[in-house]
Symmetry: C3
Subunit: 352 residues, 3 copies
């Protein structure tokens, strides 16, 4: 199993604690969706709606829920949650991500006033004075950890990440390459025709189990804090402005931009390229569709869409209207003619 | 005052050259808006419209303009410009940003042909041949300064900044982490079904007092120059295309994208996620609302909004129309029925 | 010619294998468009539509197609393709981009298990175990090359680029500063109120002659591969999601975001700030206008625009409608009044 390149279905099922129906001796080398799977691939049936694809699949075996009837003729592995089982298989079959060796690489520059016991510090890393990095944390090549920044246990900072001074990062946080934590917020006073920089002396707090994608930026607070709460997942190229408070278990998809002092309650989902104007509050469980621009507070539990973002159903009706516009222009023109005819008939002395 | 953690109101006022009305002995540890301030916080009253919040605040003291009457019962510090005074207090109370020690860190690679006297060069920095870095400039860890690039005095280049060859950067310029200055412009010739790269041999000029946020990119010119003029402030994740000429004292908010050869005159404000098509000119003082797409030249002094960006008032009227569309469809349908009834009545021989 | 600062028109023409009409002794120091060119500049006439500018130009000489009649009085260099000739001149006159010296810089950290013969490895670079970098490839300062990543010949990786483990990069690929290749795709399972990370064990394949701009991100596949095919050019701040298959010779302009599992066929053009929803297919030769949001599959060879992206002509008609909306509201109101008058007249017993 060290190569992790191939595994029999029997071994796979044993690993998952699952039962096989069919040919358990076949070997699996890849994981593919039902419609793309070849005869050496494992696939999965996430929901009954994909049963037609299941019937057609060439997969060696399919992860299937325990309680679903499937047509005969395919090898299936019965599990309680195929999507979760798939994650286990990905971890099992996929090569493990690289790990930085424990200790400090000889090319890293770790200030004597920093504490990095139990952490793994890669090449060309810089750790400034007063910083603390917890045990089990992987700091990949070229990362910068600023003065007095505290990073918890079992985090992963991928290459090129910059975390500026006085940030606090919890446990099991993952930050992807070239992302910046704690750059100055964007704030100026306009005086005498010029922009004067407002000092940005606050900080960033990132709680446990947060993940932040590549090339994103989370700004430090002007004063006080910018906070990303436990379990929130942020994609690539996202901007989080100064003094934001991002709730627990949110999902923020690629290229979203959140201006300063915005509050997201928990379980908010912002799809890709959403923008949020400053100082707004987005209620718990709100979902905002891709490319929407949020210009007002949003009520918990609703779905919003559009620029400006409005209730999703209302947006749908507007879109129907916009698609009908060319026809409406014609209808209006035709109606005017008919009214003119009626008017001229009404004014015609012959007919009165 | 070295800890900068706490200060009495009396000391604060003395520092600002201001008068206290009320209890000058209380201690201030934080700076917070009126509605969030606790009893150890300083707050500020930027304009009379916030007087209701002033009445309710728990702040230890409030920075207040000299010429405004405020209700009694709060400790106030009278200043001519509370927002400016706030900046001074932020600098005073907030921890100072970290400084790279003067000189060249032992892990930095500075070409013998580069001049860095008086500058502070941090760990793992690379400075190429012929580069010049002025006195007082802070070059943080992992920065790259390309060949023959000239950087002025008292600049700050935060970690991970890349400035490619032959750029010119003025004095007091701040560039935030992981930002790229002088990458190739995006230009190709389409020949025989393939894209041939157009050489990008120009350069970037960034004038005094410019600030550029994190993870942004300013492309070098194809030939000639891309120029960012004095005092302009650019936020995170912004793209400035090749051969742009960005005027003085502009504000370009996060995730804006400006295509090649665009000219912004002075004091233009582009809100977040604005796009500008190539080869356009945006007049002095223009303001473009968030998420707008500029597809034509814009007249100085006006406000624009939308995709495509149009006059803000015109945009407002269109939005009224779009919101009314579902109702208009109904009205049109109803009107058609009424016209049909009129027509059938007019054609009814009984009625004529 | 080593300084490349100035060249006579005669020398220039000789270099291009072209004929001069006019004063071949003048010296050219710059390349500028017709309307900006001074008396020491070379300009070019790409198409006859610019003939009016040609007449007014002060350029020392103009590159002109062989088959076009131009007014007398200007020095011209006759070439078959002025745009292509211009590229040659840019290369000739412009300073050559800096090159990393062959070999491994003493500050670079190259794992003994990596192969970098014939490559140029700059300062503070990290190359991990099992990586291969081909001859002629330039790896600039601070780049990270992950374990078992294979990079071909004659590539350029500009400073701060991160290529994570197991990627494959072809020949003559250019990647601009601070770009991230192979970060984890964005995928979670929502279970018990929390987001569980789906392992991202796939990889990235970038084929020959691809160019990727600054501060962009191409995610690794969940399993299988994310692929960018031969000759495709990608601009700055672009996001390519996991498991995408980007066809040959595509153009993807700045700040585009492509969600997971999207297929672009060959010769697709996405203008700036376009978004593409996940699991879609965009047909060969499709052009999508700036700032559009693609929410469905697009048919080969067509032009699309808008949010959601629709056929460009249909979009144009909708925009006409939106611009007319304020007038339509008035027309509808007026028409209602007229219908009411007709109705009241029809019901008026005096008139019946």
């Amino acid at each position: 199993m060290t190569t992790k390149d191939a595994i029999t279905i029997a071994d796979l099922a044993r690993h998952l604690g699952a039962e096989v129906e069919g040919d358990a001796a076949r070997v699996v080398r890849a994981i593919q969706p039902l419609d793309q799977a070849g005869p050496d691939a494992l696939s999965w049936l996430g929901s009954p709606e994909y049963l037609p694809r299941f019937e057609q699949t060439n997969a060696a075996a399919v992860l299937v829920p325990r309680d679903i009837d499937v047509p005969e003729g395919h090898t299936v592995i019965r599990v309680s949650d195929p999507d979760l089982a798939l994650c286990e298989v990905l971890t099992l079959l996929g090569p493990a991500p690289p790990r930085v060796p424990l200790g400090v690489h000889s090319s890293a520059v770790v200030d004597p006033g920093a504490k990095v016991e139990g952490a793994a510090i890669g090449p060309n890393v810089t750790v400034c004075t007063g910083a603390t990095i917890g045990p089990g944390t992987q700091v990949h090549a070229g990362v910068y950890v600023g003065a007095e920044t505290r990073i918890g246990r079992d985090c992963v900072l991928w290459p090129g990440v910059v975390v500026r001074e006085r940030a606090t990062i919890g446990d099991r946080v993952i930050i992807h390459p070239n992302t910046t934590i704690g750059a100055d917020g964007f704030g100026y006073l306009f005086r005498d025709g010029r922009h004067r920089k407002i000092p940005q002396v606050g900080r960033v707090i990132i709680e446990d189990d947060v993940e932040i994608g590549a090339n994103s930026a989370v700004d430090r607070a002007r004063s006080g804090e910018t906070r990303i709460r436990r379990g929130t997942k942020i994609d690539n190229l996202v901007q989080i402005g100064h003094n934001c408070d991002i709730g627990e278990d949110c999902i923020i998809v690629g290229q979203c931009g959140i201006a300063g002092s915005v509050t997201l309650e928990h379980h908010v989902v912002l799809s890709g390229q959403v923008g949020v104007i400053d100082h707004l509050r987005i209620g718990a469980g709100v979902q905002v569709a891709a490319r929407s621009l949020v210009t007002g507070n949003l009520r918990a539990g609703h779905v919003y869409r559009g620029t400006p973002a409005i209730d999703n159903n209302q947006y749908g009706r507007q879109q129907v209207g916009i698609r009908r516009l060319p026809k409406m222009i014609e209808q209006l023109r035709e109606l005017r003619k008919r009214v003119e005819q009626l008017e001229s008939a009404a004014n015609d002395p012959e007919r009165s």
